[in-house]
Symmetry: C2
Subunit: 305 residues, 2 copies
Amino acid sequence: VRGAVADPERIVICDGFTQGLTLVCRALHARGARRIAVEDPCCRAHREIIRHNGLEAVPVAVDEDGIRVEELARHSVSAVVVSPAHQFPTGYLLSPQRRAQLLEWASRTGALVIEYDYDAQYRYDGPPVGALQGLAPATVVYAGTASKILAPGLRVGWLVVPAAMTDAVIRHKVCDDLGSNLPTQLTLARFIERGDLDRHLRRLRRSYRARRDALITALRRHLPGARVQGIAAGLHALALLPEQMNEARLCEQARGRGVSVYGLGRYRANPRSGAPGLVLGYASLAEAKIKRGIQELAQACPSPA
Amino acid sequence: VRGAVADPERIVICDGFTQGLTLVCRALHARGARRIAVEDPCCRAHREIIRHNGLEAVPVAVDEDGIRVEELARHSVSAVVVSPAHQFPTGYLLSPQRRAQLLEWASRTGALVIEYDYDAQYRYDGPPVGALQGLAPATVVYAGTASKILAPGLRVGWLVVPAAMTDAVIRHKVCDDLGSNLPTQLTLARFIERGDLDRHLRRLRRSYRARRDALITALRRHLPGARVQGIAAGLHALALLPEQMNEARLCEQARGRGVSVYGLGRYRANPRSGAPGLVLGYASLAEAKIKRGIQELAQACPSPA
């Protein structure tokens, strides 16, 4: 479905993307790597995992076309973690030109691209976007997870590893825990074979799309000053706020009204840099609750945003 | 049941003992440890896990009373991995005197004792033997696993960690994979609560005891020169062979006859040292098969052993 080149002997089942990234970091570290680039902003845990494994996490800015490859190319790094189908948390799609640039950079420098394909199953508008790995399977580690489509508690993820690196990643997996929980793997395999996963995803896409639409409608009505981004896919949207707004204070006030939102700063390498914004997860909320939440959020705003 | 001091906030569920030892090694390494003692002979994987995590595995000889604490005390190590209830692979029980010596050593040097309590549920003769951890919960990491009582594919193990070390071990677990498979944990909890685990173990003990008895009978009859050790408990026995026998050749010839046995050398730090012996796992074999296997083994012997 994702257009990945996934020969069985290159697939490593792991305990979610957390362990997947851990294994790749360890394999890279063992062959001398010391610095890995991450998108800025990105999931905070990724920076922590990279550091925890003795590597430096080098932030590289993201714009509306995805990671800025020109900036990436100015750093000396052994790998980069990207989410091309729906960047977290901006929701931007890596543009075709940037994809080509990124793969060209990787092939020129010998660096590895770690493709975190966490919510590609949820695309609501526009044509489907294939995985980067399908274009360069010798350069890209593809990483998927059941956490965003079934449940994080399953701790099931999958890596598709370039042939030259497979043995090293497997060695780390075996030495760390011998393998992932087998009953869950067998159950998931059956779930996929029977077509249940496809049915499940179709149902979720319908439901999440309706929630996304409810979010957009509510934002337009109650927070017309917010610029909504990254809504063609995924489980969350980014609402960029007018420059003068204090993102941290708004989040705090919203929380006081029972609305749990995070500011964009939470995900930046430097929390105080860049334009203010809110990351709004909508997938787990019923439409009425989304509407009420945005109303409360608008009330929390010091002035009409 | 094991007499361990197991407050819930000190228990870390992990992916089997493999990950449990990995987490403890990482936590020790992070606080400056560089050398960990292991019993000699011991499970080969333990030495590999220790080395894989940047530590040196220091072998310390085992005799019929368990690990030789006097020898251990001559090394400078931050921890020691022991299996006091049924040493692997010799099957020896750590004697009461050695237990006291070991804990005294640990308390004097500040070293950690890692108690691998892998098959304590299977005790056939003599009074039950409690866990070492119950005597010194601030000094001992207790480690158990579902691998030897249910199935290795579950990847469920448990650590009980000294209070001073719990946060560090949890931090490594969270950073490595966020947590272990949740459906399995919930299922196992229900299995224990309903008394099913106790019933399961009573059934296994009966069955394994009969298999052990079949093994002893067959060895006495067909290999009267072998000295059988460590049979009061566990899932395997050690058959010490007459000095002149070539353990490796015997294993090879037995394998040629379809009998899969391992020599004691496989588990030693120096495979060519010490008396020849065979490690005979019997728990998974029906009694008739055990009898036939020992007959074949006797045939493989160059001379009456």
